[in-house]
Every structure is written in C-alpha cells, then in structure tokens.
C-alpha cells in the first residue's frame, strides 16, 4: 500500500492492485490486513492491503438520512387498540446489519424496527418506547437491572399503559427476568421479556412470533414478570414462563428457554391465550420499586475434589456465597480428603451468608435424607427449596 487511504466505508471506490482494477463499495472490515469490497454483483470479496497500489474514491457515501427525524416520528396508533410500552435494551433482537458498512450494529432508528413486524400493531399500540441503554446481554450487571426496573416501574404506574415488553439479548435474559421479579413489588400489569435467537435480517427470524406473542401477553390479565418465547422449533405458539423459574437451556435453538421445576403460565398464540397454571391477576395496586442487590456475592459450583482454599478466597472477598451443590444438597464433608465444612463454618462465623442451590437444576433440595445434608444445615447454610 503506497498511498494513504482516504476512503470511508460506504464509499464507491476503485482499487488498483498489482494485477487489476476493481470497483465496488468499501465495507467495514474486521480483519486488519484486508479491505472488504462489495462488487456490483452483490458479492463481497476481500483484497489484501499489501496488494493494493492505489485507491480512488468515485462516489462518497451518502450519510444515512434522518435517523433524527425518524426517532422523533410518532409511532402510529389505533384508537381501538390497547396501549403498551416497550423497553429496548440490546441483544440480537435490537441489532441489524448495516448494509452500507456490512457490520452488525444496534438499531439507530427504532421506528424502522417496527416496520418489519406489522403484526405487532394489530394487537396493541406501542405508546411509549424507552431505550435506557443498548448492550449485549453478557455485558449486563445489576446496574442495568436497576435501570430497567426503574423505567418499568414508572411505566407500570402510568394508567395509559396496559403492559410492558422488554426486548433483551438471550444469554442472560433469565437473570434479568429473575431480578425484575424481585425488584418490582406489588406488580399490577404484565411485564414481558422477549428476545430473538436468529437475527432480524432473516426472513425466518424468531423475533416475529416472539414479538406478536409478547404483545398478546402484555395486554393480557396476567400480572407477572414473564419470559415469552418459542415453545418449540415451530413458528406456532410461545410459552409464557415465570421470571424466577426459567433458564436458557440451549445455545442456539429458538426454544432455548425452558421452565425449570415449574409449568409455563400460558400458551400464547398470536390472537389467543391458553392458561396452563395459576397466576397473579391484573390489579390496581401501585408498583413499588425495590431494586436492592448485593454485588459481592459469588456463585460457586461444587465439584468432586474441590479445594477448601477456594472457599477461603471467596470468604475473604465476598459477603455471601451461593453454592451449587450436588444431589439433594451435598458437599464434601468429614469422610472426604478435602472436607469443606471447617472453612464454611469459619466463613459463617465471620458473618458470611451461605446459600445452597441444586446443580442438577431439576428437583428440590432436601437436607434431611443424608447425613452430610444435616451437617451442612447444622453448620448454618441456608437451603432454599430450589432457590
């Protein structure tokens, strides 16, 4: 490469290499040694920077028009339909491919997003759209959960809003669902979390059915924090699953989220709802925000041969530990080479809260069946049912 590059992604350029002249639209490249070019045929090819002799800009790219205008644009509403609110937080469902640069980016004009899902507007009006932040869900923390909860509480106490849809990345969606279940007290309306596993540029994206069913759930009678998503690989209906009893159980399938130790609250079809279990009914109480969370709590998975020094480490740095225990709630005790009990007792004495959870995921804990369970209970470890 002999010349300084003055071309930007989106520019229509001519690249001269030692072998040929190639014309095309410059795209963003994630590989530092490569220029990515969209040819007239629509195909993208890469050109090694070291082979390039000269680059000439033929046409500068036009900046994407008017996202400002569109952001401000009123979301159309129909009088006869109920009003709901949407909170966008990021994730696959809130990203799109930028055809100009070839990169995947967060939605810049959310109004665009709704154009792909016109069915949504046959069910409810999106009266308010809130975007507290846009991040991938693996980057969430309690700070973000608190922000979402605060926005949600305000919307829930707005008499014009019948329910809320929260769109979110899938990786930690079930953590957020659980946090919101605890943060929003006296829940009066549906709080629906939904997602997509397939990007929205695909005509086959699961976002379409998930959003339709989310809207259906948001105007329903069910005042619960629920995760709504594909019940199976088919595009026919979704499950509404309780926020505290749901978990991502597959890395890629549409029906990744499953109820753990519980049944779905309802089957949701676009246009109708089939109730499956008991729920908290829509009511007139005022939602109270109770967004308290202790970050200095470790989630530790017990495994065979676990060194007790690990407990020591957490005990020094945390205020509490949740231990994923084996079976009905067991850890290595007296007859083990590595007995964890002494370190755990020490930690409890120092004021740490230690809780148990089942690493089997399915089934309840029961400390009374075997002696190690009773020993742990005696030591002062809290055993929720399947908390």
């Amino acid at each position: 490469m002999k010349k300084q590059v003055k071309a930007n992604p989106g520019d229509y350029i001519n690249i001269r290499t030692t072998k040929e002249n190639i014309e095309g639209t410059l795209l963003e490249s994630h590989e530092p040694d490569i220029f990515l070019l969209k040819l007239k045929s629509g195909y993208n090819i890469g050109i090694k920077k070291e082979d390039i002799y000269d680059i000439r800009v033929i046409r500068k790219s036009k900046p994407e028009e008017s996202s400002e205008k569109e952001k401000a644009a009123e979301l159309k509403s129909k009088k006869e339909l109920p009003n709901i609110a949407m909170i966008m937080t990021g994730g696959t469902i809130s990203s799109r491919l930028d055809p100009l640069t070839g990169g995947v980016k967060w939605l810049t004009s959310p109004a665009d997003f709704f154009k792909f899902y016109p069915e949504l507007f046959g069910i409810a009006n999106i009266k308010k759209l809130e975007i507290p932040f846009m991040i991938a869900s693996e980057n969430m923390s309690s700070r973000e959960w608190k922000k979402i909860a605060k926005v949600a509480a305000e919307l829930l106490n707005d008499p014009e809003i019948k329910g809320i849809i929260i769109t979110h990345g899938t990786d930690t969606l079930h953590y957020t669902a659980s946090a919101l279940s605890f943060f929003l007290k006296n829940l009066n309306k549906p709080v629906i979390l939904t997602y997509s596993q397939r990007s929205t540029d695909r005509a086959s994206s699961d976002a379409s059915l998930n959003l339709q069913c989310a809207a259906q759930a948001a105007v329903s009678d069910i005042a619960e924090v629920m995760l709504v998503g594909h019940a199976s690989t088919n595009d026919d209906f979704c499950y509404a699953m309780q926020g505290t009893k749901v978990r991502k159980m597959h890395s890629s399938r549409r029906d990744a989220f499953k109820c753990i130790n519980s049944k779905p609250i309802a089957k949701i079809f676009p246009g109708r709802i089939e109730i499956l279990s008991q729920y908290n009914k829509r009511n007139n109480s005022k939602v109270k925000l109770n967004a308290v969370f202790e970050d200095k709590v470790a989630l530790v998975k017990f495994h065979p041969g676990m060194n007790p020094d690990i407990i020591d480490y957490y005990a020094k740095n945390c205020r509490g530990i949740v231990i994923e225990m084996t079976g009905l709630g067991h850890l290595a005790t007296k007859e083990a080479y590595y007995n964890l009990l002494p370190k755990l007792k020490q930690a409890i004495k120092r004021g740490l809260v230690i809780c148990a959870a089942p690493q089997t995921l399915y089934g309840w804990l029961d400390p009374y069946v075997y002696s190690p369970g009773r020993e742990l209970l005696k030591a002062g470890i809290n055993k929720g049912k399947n908390a």
Binding site: Y43, N44, I45, N234
Partner: protein, 480 residues
C-alpha cells in the same frame, strides 16, 4: 438457415452442478431419501430490510407471509443447521477443493479472499430465508470451435430444500437436499449461435465430470440467457440436457424474432420444456439482495489450498484420449477403456507387459464374456479377477510361462474357482516344451555358472513343475 449474426443473438449459460461430498455448512451426508421423514418443522417467513434499510415489500414477500412452510427432516441425516437452529459450520474443505479444481480447469482467476454471502430467498426453499453463496473465481474461458466463451464467475453455494407438495397455504419441503454443495458457473453472453452454446455446455460438462461431482438426474441444472437485437433478455430455467440447449435457443430466437417485430419482447423468466420449447414462469426479479453471512469468518484461499487443487487437477477425457492414442489404441478400444473407467489400471499394467489391446481385453472384455458364460454378475467375476490377478497372469506371459493365447483360458479357470497357481500350471501342461526354452533363457541371462548352480536356479524357479531328474537331464543336454 437462420443467420444468427444478423439476428444479433447473444446468449450465456448458467450451470449448477452438485458436488459429490457431504453438505457445505454442516457434517450431514448429501443423501436424498425416499422413506418417510422422522419429524416435521413448521415455519413462517416475514418481511426483512432491503439494501437501504427499507422493508422489502415485493409481491413475493406478501405471498410468502401468507404461507406456512413445512420441513421434513431425518434424525440421522439432517441436523440443527438445516432447520436453522444452529449457526452454520465452517465451509466443507473438500467441496472448496473441487470448486477450485473446476475454476482452474475453466482458466479462471481464483479470488484469494472472499466472503460467504446470504442471498435472500423467500419461497421457503431455504429454512433461513436465504441461500449461502461465495464468489470463488472469475474471468475464465472455455474454448469452442468458434472462439472462446468467457466465464464470468464461479460460485460455491448450497442447494435448496426440495419441494414435495403444496396443500393450500402450506408448502412441504424435504431437508435432505438443503445444503448439498453446488458450483454455479456463469458464462459471459459471448455465445453467438445455438451450435456454439451446445459446444460450450458440453465442454463445461466434460470438465465437471472429470471432477468429483454427483451424476444422474437432478444433479445438474442448466439455465440459458438469450436476447436478440431489439429484444429483451430472457432467462430460460432448467434445460435438461446439453443436446436440448441448441434446440431451445433455436426455438426461443424464432419466438423472439416474431415478438420483436410486434414490439412485444419482455424481460421474463421462462421454463424449459423437454421438447425444446419454453413456457412463461415469472417476470424477471430484481437483483437478489445479498449480505454477509455474519456467522462465518472471511474465506481465505491459502497458497497451500490452491497448490493442492492445482497438483490434483483431474485430466479431461479429451486429454486422456490423446494419451491413449499415443499408447496405440484404436477408437473402439479407447471407448471400451473410457466407458469402464479403467485408465489407471491400463496404465499400470502396460508397464508390466506392453500390449494395451490384450490388457483391455483382460480388463474389460473377457470379464464380461466370462460373466455371461458362467451366469455370474460382473462384480462377482471382477472380485476374483482383480488387477493383482491380471498382473500375475501378465507376468507369466512376460516370462513365457504361458502364451498370450492362453490368457483367457487362465482367467476363466480362476473365475471358476481355481487358484492362480493351478490355473497357470494347467496351462504349462498344455504348453509342454516351454520349460526347456525357459531354461535356455535362464542360462542366457546368467552365463558362465556351473551345472549345480544352474540346477539350483532351475529348481527355485520351476519348483513343482519339473522333477529334479528331468531338470538335470535338460541341463546336461544344454551344458556340454
């Protein structure tokens, strides 16, 4: 006779050929199945953003929205990739290797860094709503007697699911074909008359068949683009065989001639019929929307991958013919060996005994004759008359243990179940007197030894075929 030059005929070919490998973006085998599927998946498609971000509300999308797509799958030969429930795996290296070979044989420039693209498809034939495709090579050519026909592009892409039936709003597809690798070869519109189109198609076909591609009905699809002066471009889909390409172009050029006169020529896609005519299929769609397959890294064709393709380039039949002619085969023998695909065997056996006509008889003709005579299958016969067995027989001919004229009898006996040794021995009895000649030859090969040394050599070579007494007598007679 139509003057196509005057008519301003321009035509190009687009050929899709399935490769004989596993699937392009997962590890499933490329097997089409006739048995009942193990499961079905029901899906819908919805509108997506167009190139500039607007919703693509074409008539096709509107139609797709109303439809339900049902996909039939198998637990053992389809996986989550075909049902769009798992990101695609890295590209199949064997398929890439074959695509590179085809590109090189068509004199193309290989694109060193390319991106796998998603081409929007909304008829439901792809579960994802798009077909994955990558530009592999460009700017090649194929020679014809009337000049070169340029190759515009060679792409490696995945085949679509195959349609099984349509019931009201539901379309049923089977996933077995989805993901089978295809090479797509597109020529420039350099073709000037129907005869040249046929020639180019045959030549491209020959190149494809020299590589590892699938054979049989449905494994190759040929489309033809055609226009005449003053007329619009017509795309004709699915011409069944190269022979029909010529007839189809002749007929379409005639049809266009009339339409141009009447001012009625339209851009459209037509379907090829088996009689060389065409019928209307749909208006020409806009350029397909293409965007990157964001789940895969850029595809870099390393020097090593390219060298491997280059080193292993298969020979074309026309080249092989030239070689066989040099060996001294007549057309009939050439045809036999080509049809039976025994070129490699022929080449290796010639090195042992240089009589190609005899070898072809042993490789191709006689096994067939023996099979029909013995009422056995050719596979049965060939399992006893392997190339190793033929090699031993040729060795025996070379060392004059048997005569060329006896080879067929030996083969017959082996096919009947005799051991190779016995079959060759049997021939010895009939050809008595040969041993003496062979002993003479042995003495000529190693002159100047004493009689005991010769005795040792003779007994070693003709063990079991001659007694010590007989050997001593012959030697005494020969060495004075």
């Amino acid at each position: 006779m139509t003057d196509y030059l005057k008519l301003g005929l321009r035509s190009g070919l687009e050929i899709h050929q399935q490769l004989d490998t596993g699937k392009l973006f997962c590890n499933c085998p490329s097997i089409l199945r006739q048995d009942a599927p193990d499961f079905i998946v029901k899906r819908k498609l919805h509108a997506v953003a167009g190139e500039t971000g607007e919703v693509d509300i074409t008539a096709a999308f509107e139609a797709a929205k109303e439809k339900e797509f049902v996909y039939e799958g198998y637990n053992d030969t389809t996986c989550l990739v075909e049902i769009d429930e798992e990101p695609c795996h890295l590209i199949n290296q064997e398929a890439l290797h074959i695509a590179l070979q085809v590109s090189l044989l068509l004199n193309c420039e290989i694109i060193p860094v390319t991106q796998i693209m998603r081409k929007t498809v909304i008829d439901g034939s792809n579960t994802g709503g798009f077909q994955r495709t990558a530009l592999i090579a460009k700017n090649g050519y194929v020679e014809t007697s009337e000049g070169r026909v340029g190759i515009q592009s060679i792409c490696l892409e995945e085949d679509a699911a195959r349609i099984i039936k349509q019931e009201g709003n539901a379309v049923v597809y089977r996933l077995d074909r989805l993901g089978i690798p295809l090479v797509e070869i597109a020529t420039f519109p350099d073709i000037k008359n129907p005869q040249q189109a046929k020639e180019a198609a045959l030549h491209i076909g020959e190149i494809l068949r020299a590589c590892k591609v699938k054979r049989g009905i449905g494994t190759i699809r040929q489309d033809v683009n055609i226009s005449i002066k003053g007329g619009e471009r017509i795309e004709i889909k699915g011409v069944q065989e190269p022979a029909l390409i010529e007839k189809t172009i002749i007929n379409e050029a005639e049809r266009q001639k009339t339409l141009v006169k009447e001012g009625k020529s339209r851009l459209e896609v037509r379907k090829a019929l088996p009689d060389g005519n065409t019928e209307f299929l749909r208006p020409l769609p806009g350029a397909a929307r293409m965007y990157p397959e964001t789940d895969l890294p850029l595809l870099r064709i390393s020097r090593q991958i390219l060298d491997e393709a280059r080193k292993s380039l298969p020979k074309l039949k026309s080249e092989i013919r030239g070689e066989l002619k040099k060996i001294g085969l007549n057309d009939e023998m050439m045809k036999l060996v080509l049809e039976a695909s025994k070129i490699e065997e022929l080449k290796s056996l010639i090195k042992i005994y240089n009589n190609p006509n005899l070898i072809i008889k042993m490789l191709v003709l006689w096994p067939k004759e023996i099979a029909s005579h013995e009422k056995k299958t050719i596979e049965d016969v060939e399992s006893s008359l392997t190339i190793d067995v033929i090699e031993i027989i040729l060795q025996a001919i070379k060392s004059k243990k048997i005569d060329e004229s006896q080879a067929k009898q030996v083969m017959k006996e082996i096919a009947e179940g005799k051991s190779i040794e016995d079959a060759l021995k049997g021939e010895k009895a009939e050809g008595a007197g040969n041993i003496e000649e062979e002993i003479i030859k042995l003495i000529e090969e190693k002159p100047g030894l004493n009689i005991n040394a010769y005795m040792g050599l003779v007994m070693q070579r003709f063990k079991g075929r001659i007694s010590g007494k007989d050997a001593a007598e012959i030697l005494k007679k020969l060495i004075k």
